[in-house]
């Protein structure tokens, strides 16, 4: 087998893996159920935010936090929670 043939086989396998990922993504029916379960729970409890960052109230509920919350200690205080560096402040109106 020539080196180029081996490469083509390897590339074909790699692309098959990519197609596999895509198939996996479309066929994950259980996850779709998860989506529905989460949406149903959000509706039932009237939730407003993802519970990803629970360290401070303005990172737990970014959509509900007032604009001063990250700087609550005193005006101009530096935001001290690590999440503040990965979550951008809400956009102005």
């Amino acid at each position: 087998m020539r080196p180029s043939d081996r490469l083509l086989v390897a590339l074909a396998l790699a692309w098959l893996a990519l197609v596999g990922c895509w198939l996996h993504a479309t066929l994950r029916v259980r996850e779709a159920n998860d989506h529905r379960a989460a949406a149903a729970m959000v509706r039932r409890l009237g939730l407003t935010d993802l519970a990803l960052f629970t360290e401070a109230r303005y990172t737990r509920h970014p959509s509900q936090a007032d604009r001063f919350a990250p700087f609550q200690d005193h005006p101009g205080a530096v935001e001290h929670f690590p999440t503040g560096s990965v979550v951008a402040p809400p956009e102005g109106p």
Binding site: L7, L18, H35, M41, V42, E55, R60, S63, R67, V87
Partner: protein, 379 residues
């Protein structure tokens, strides 16, 4: 040249390219590794952000249409129960409901819980329903007892009625649900004050107008529409800002370094190789084709490898490597078992941002050497 002859020629060039890459095996393998890692980091970030954004957008369709908060000196303050009636009277509002919720810090588990009174709590007064994360860090299960201190120092005992199923943990992991009477006892809250008021507006097109009317009615208040909640998450997981940008910039800088190193020039050995090829009769176009193939082979391998690894990392491995970054100081974090959401345009952008510059960076210095006199190049 027939198509078959052209194909045969490309295959021969490819054979030569692979042999040439093989001669500098260690260097090329390390390059492939770094390149693949960059694609992996960028793709993982994009896949995670896209999945979280899709999740937030889909689930927040069920969020309240408008949430009305009272502000006091720029801070969120409790709102009088009497306002519920006034807000319900706004044309377009089907119903207004006062909501009670707050936060509770648990010194033992160092976790911040979100305490919420559902509109229709399905347990009795001495019972609570907890999120999957709360059950995990507090070592609780259905039937267990949880002790919560009140503001006055008294300790209340609650029975865990049930644990919310993990399917919705992205939204509910830190929740502690209880009845209104329990909430009032626990926090010593005034019964005639709510945390905020949720409005139901059946016609989505009326929501902005309703929000305007709320502000006319309660000038010091803040009306947060569902669209704004959704937009908050769009902007948090937007690739230009916040989370994605923080991770992306480091990876892109690393990649720029690799590409720069490559574009800055060829090694003496590579220049000699090009000189020899020219001397034995290769065209400039042949040399460039070999180099283009070299760039394409390395980038295609790194791109596919990196992308597949990123997919497995995010959707099979629950984005384990990003967990410490996402968690920050939070003790309670949901398990990121996300539904895959692939954005073709984003992946295509990633492809063109990584594969094309690298291939060009490989060809340009080769072109400079290939157009020079072979004798001068080999010297």
């Amino acid at each position: 040249m027939t198509a078959r002859a052209w194909l045969e020629r490309q295959r021969s060039l490819l054979d030569y390219t692979l042999a040439s890459l093989g001669r500098r095996r260690a260097k090329n393998l390390s390059l492939l590794l770094v390149y693949g890692l960059v694609v992996f980091a960028v793709a993982s970030t994009l896949l995670l952000a896209e999945a979280l954004r899709a999740e937030a957008t889909a689930a927040l369709r069920g969020a309240p249409d408008v949430v009305v908060q009272r502000l006091q000196a720029g801070r969120h303050d409790l709102i009088a129960a009497a306002e519920v009636e006034r807000l319900a009277a706004i044309r377009g509002v089907e119903r207004a409901a006062g909501r009670r919720w707050g936060y509770l810090y648990r010194p033992v588990s160092k976790a911040n819980l979100t305490v919420l009174v559902p509109e229709r709590f399905w347990g009795s007064d001495g019972e609570v329903v907890i999120g999957e994360g709360v059950a995990r860090v507090e070592h609780l299960s259905a039937g267990a007892t949880i002790y919560l201190p009140t503001g006055s120092g008294e300790v209340l005992a609650f029975t865990v009625r049930e644990v919310i199923p993990p399917e919705s943990s992205r939204f509910t992991t830190d929740l502690l649900l209880l009845s209104e009477a329990s909430f009032l006892r626990l926090f010593g809250a005034a019964p005639d004050r709510y945390t905020d008021i949720a409005l139901t507006v059946p016609n989505a097109r009326e929501i902005p107008k309703v929000a305007e009317k709320v502000l006319l009615l309660l000038p010091g208040a803040r009306a947060i529409t569902r669209l704004e909640m959704s937009r908050t998450y769009q902007s948090i997981f937007d690739w230009r800002s916040g989370l994605v940008m923080a991770m992306l910039s480091a990876a892109l800088l690393a990649f720029a370094l690799v590409a720069w190193d490559k574009a800055a020039g060829l090694s003496a050995e590579e220049r000699r190789e090009i000189g020899i090829l020219k001397a034995i009769g290769w065209d400039v176009s042949d040399v460039l084709l070999v180099k283009a193939w070299e760039g394409a082979v390395v980038s295609a391998a790194a791109f596919t490898g990196g992308l597949v690894a990123a997919y497995l990392h995010v959707f099979v491995g629950s984005a384990a490597l990003f967990a410490p970054v996402l968690q920050g100081w939070s003790t309670l974090s949901p398990r990121l078992h996300l539904a895959p959401a692939l954005d073709g345009l984003q992946l295509a952008t990633l492809f063109f941002l990584t594969v094309v510059p690298y291939t060009v960076a490989t060809v340009v210095p080769a072109w400079r050497s290939a157009t020079a006199d072979p004798d001068a190049v080999m010297r």
